[in-house]
């Protein structure tokens, strides 16, 4: 994993590994046999902080549309619904983070992957994703600040 990109969230370095592709909703997708493994990016995990709870609201083997709600996640700082990255097919869920959600924190780019997925849609390159982060950072901070108030 050379030439990894880094996005500075304040003083925190959010890693954007160059060996995979991305979706705008802060998921990474990496070739895994005949499908893709999907996980949360370091940027997303940094915002969530310690993940306590992960649940899926669809069954494995479900066709999903982009931004369809498929699950939920709760952490020490946040709650969120989880949404499909693009149109595709959710094949199976990774048991590891379901049993121990902290694996999303400890190995979010590795053993903490979320599900296997198949899609024909176009995905973002690491550079494209970095541009998404740069474009959205201000807005994200404002959203968080708005909710803290």
């Amino acid at each position: 994993m050379t030439d990894n990109l880094v996005f500075m969230m304040g003083e925190y370095e959010a890693l954007v590994p160059s060996d995979r592709r991305y979706a705008e909703n802060h998921l990474w997708l990496q070739e895994d046999g005949d499908a893709l493994k999907v996980g949360l990016t370091s940027y997303a995990v940094r915002l969530l902080q310690d993940v306590f709870f992960l649940d899926w609201t669809i069954d494995p083997g479900t066709e999903v549309r982009a931004r369809q709600e498929i699950g939920e996640i709760e952490s020490s700082k946040a709650v969120s619904s989880l949404f499909a990255p693009v149109d595709g097919h959710v094949l199976e869920f990774n048991d590891a983070p379901l049993e121990d959600p902290s694996s999303i924190n400890t190995s979010g780019y590795d053993g903490g992957w979320l599900y296997r997925f198949r899609t024909d849609s176009t995905l973002l390159s690491p550079q494209d994703y970095l541009a998404v982060l740069e474009g959205g950072w201000e807005d994200t901070q404002r959203m968080i600040k708005g909710q803290l108030n």
Partner: protein
């Protein structure tokens, strides 16, 4: 007829829910025999139009008011205000109960405020807070004691002439002197039809005009002070809360909308944690507002405009390179005890 220090208004539910009706009846029955207060029953405030006898009756009341209604207190207060039933909004022990963590402070409202407020207090209680009538009666009792303690004994006796200041219209005076048809809660209360329109909370409204730019149905206008107002409320599209979503101050309330934030709840109701759903792909408030507006435009036989008209301007002139307090805030997230 001697007037009481306090009038309690029960605004009925527009639904036929027997549990709600029963709560109303228990309250009215208990309040009717309470010597300390006058009691009045009106249909749901949101459905009263300007000419309705209930509106005229309420306008004629001059003393302090407790208003019990099936709405968030903020919605009820500004609904009364727009109908000319004005006064100082006073928090009750009910307010803030369901806003969760006391550590999460709701910012002081920075709005333009109400105008021409008479020296009277209005306490709005949400009937959805509890299904036990005793809870409301205790709070009304507490408010009564607070008001009696406040009343300056030298200011004169509390009789009718003290309350009627200015020159009420003859029909208002008549309603006041003979309010039995309304007071009893029985008999032929004028029927109302269901309505749908926004209510502006002027404690929060900063007069930014984003709502008037966004709404393409001519609901909004300005008054002689160039203050935003809901001018053509019947142009509003039933079920559409799009302007409330674009309001940067959450100052536009649709009291009967299903989402608490739009119906007038303050803060994130019950939510102690940050909601990152937007980050992970849910529709933003603005997306939802654009979609809702397009649906209504198409229903009217007009063309959908998407995001081409009336988009909020507030994010266009930011300097994104300069470090500001938001960066500090974010770096401090770890240290925060949320």
């Amino acid at each position: 007829m001697a007037s009481k220090l306090l009038t309690v208004v029960v605004s009925q539910t527009p639904s036929k829910n027997p549990a709600k009706r029963q709560l109303e009846e228990e309250l009215v029955a208990a309040l009717m025999i309470d010597d300390a207060v006058d009691v009045a029953v009106v249909p749901h405030l949101y459905n009263l139009d300007a000419a309705h006898s209930g509106t005229l009756f309420l306008q004629a009341l001059q003393g302090h008011l407790v208003v019990l209604s099936w709405m968030y207190s903020r919605a009820a207060h500004w609904l009364l205000d727009r109908s000319g039933i004005k006064g100082h909004q006073v928090e009750t022990l009910f307010d803030g109960q369901d806003e969760g963590d006391e550590d999460i402070e709701i910012p002081e409202p920075q709005g333009v405020g109400g105008v021409d407020l008479p020296d009277r207090k209005i306490y709005c209680l949400d009937l959805g807070v509890d299904d036990d009538s005793q809870v409301y009666l205790e709070e009304i009792n507490r408010i009564g004691q607070e008001l009696r303690a406040d009343t300056n004994p030298t200011s004169g006796t509390l009789d009718l002439t003290d309350w009627i200041s200015g020159s009420p219209k003859p029909e208002q005076l008549q309603r006041y002197l003979d309010p039995l048809s309304v007071l009893s809660g029985e008999g032929d209360v004028e029927p109302v039809k269901r309505r749908w329109y926004p209510v502006i909370d002027y404690e929060r409204c900063t007069n930014c005009m984003e709502c008037i730019d966004f709404c393409l149905f001519g609901v909004y206008g300005v008054d002689r002070l160039d203050r935003i107002l809901v001018e053509q409320q019947d142009n509003c599209k039933k079920g559409c809360p799009a302007c409330s979503r674009v309001c940067p101050e959450n100052a536009i309330v649709f009291p009967l909308h299903k989402e608490p934030a739009i119906a007038g709840a303050l803060g994130d109701v019950g939510a102690l944690k940050i909601d990152l759903s937007r980050l992970f792909g849910s529709a933003t408030g603005l997306d939802a507002a654009v979609a809702e507006r397009d649906v209504e435009l198409l229903r009217d036989g007009r063309d959908a405009v998407g995001a081409s008209v009336g988009m909020p301007r507030r994010q266009t002139d930011r300097d994104s390179t300069q470090r500001d307090e938001l960066d500090d805030l974010f770096d401090g997230l770890d240290a925060m005890d949320l």
